[in-house]
Symmetry: C2
C-alpha cells in the first residue's frame, strides 16, 4: 500500500544503501552526523505494532546491524535510536551516531544546536561496504 | 553490574509499574504526556548491541506490549519510540503517546514546546492494570 501524499511512499528518502522486500536503508545527509542512517519500511504503515512480529524483528535486526557497523567504524560516544514519525507517519528508524562534541550533544538532535559541527575524517565508502555486507548477511539468515 | 554515578543504577527512575529479572517499566510523570512509559534495563549497559539477541528481543517485546496498551487505552495520534541515553548512558526506551494538540507536536518532545498542555481525562488505573497484565503475559511466554 502506498499513500499519495507520503514522501516515503513517493521516493527513497535518501541515498539508498540497501533494499530488501520489507525495508530499505538510506544514508542521511545531516551535517555533523556522518554515518546517520534510516531504516524505512517499504510499504506504508505508521506504528511498529501494526506489523506482524516477524516483520518487527526483521526491521530491528537491520537497526542492530547498522548500530554494530557504526560502533565499529565511526566509533561514536553513543548511538541514538528513534522511531517518531510525527511529521511523516510512515515507519522509519533513525540510527544516529553521537559524539560529545557534535552539534547537539547531550541533547537529542532535534533540540536547538549548541555548537558548530566538527569536521570528521571518516571512510564513508568502507562504512557503506560494511553495512551492505551485514545487511546482505541478514537476508541470507532468513 | 551497577555504576555508582548512574541514576538508573541508584534508583528505579520513576513510578514502578513492572519488574522482571532483565528490566523494569516505569510511568513517567511528564506534563502533557499521560501514559508515557520507560523500559529500563536493570543492569548497567549503554547500547542495545551490547546485549545478547534474546535480551534485545525481550526488551523490545516489552516496548511493543506498552505501545499496544497505549494505542488501546489513551488512543494517541502517534507513538514515539526512542533509546537515546546521551545524558544517562544506561539503556532505557521511551514509549511516548503523542497527540496533535500536545505541547510539542509534531516536533519530538525534546524540542521547544509550541503550546500549553491540554488536560486529558484518562483512566490511568485501567492503563496500569492492562500494562501489568500484558507484561506478566510476556513473562509467562518465555
Amino acid at each position: 500500500m502506498t499513500t499519495a501524499s507520503c514522501p516515503l511512499c513517493a521516493g527513497p528518502g535518501g541515498e539508498l544503501l540497501w533494499q530488501s522486500a520489507l525495508y530499505r536503508v538510506v544514508m542521511v545527509d545531516e551535517p555533523g552526523y556522518p554515518g546517520f542512517c534510516r531504516v524505512i519500511l517499504n510499504r506504508h504503515a505508521a506504528e511498529m505494532t501494526e506489523l506482524p512480529p516477524e516483520e518487527r524483528n526483521a526491521l530491528m535486526n537491520a537497526v542492530w546491524a547498522i548500530e554494530e557497523v557504526l560502533r565499529e567504524t565511526v566509533q561514536p560516544d553513543k548511538i541514538n535510536l528513534a522511531s517518531l514519525g510525527n511529521v511523516v507517519p510512515h515507519l522509519h528508524w533513525h540510527v544516529i551516531p553521537r559524539w560529545r562534541d557534535d552539534p547537539h550533544f547531550p541533547a537529542p538532535i532535534w533540540a536547538v544546536p549548541q555548537r558548530e559541527q566538527i569536521r570528521r575524517e571518516l571512510d564513508l565508502n568502507r562504512l557503506k561496504a560494511l553495512l551492505a555486507s551485514r545487511l546482505l548477511m541478514l537476508e541470507s539468515l532468513k
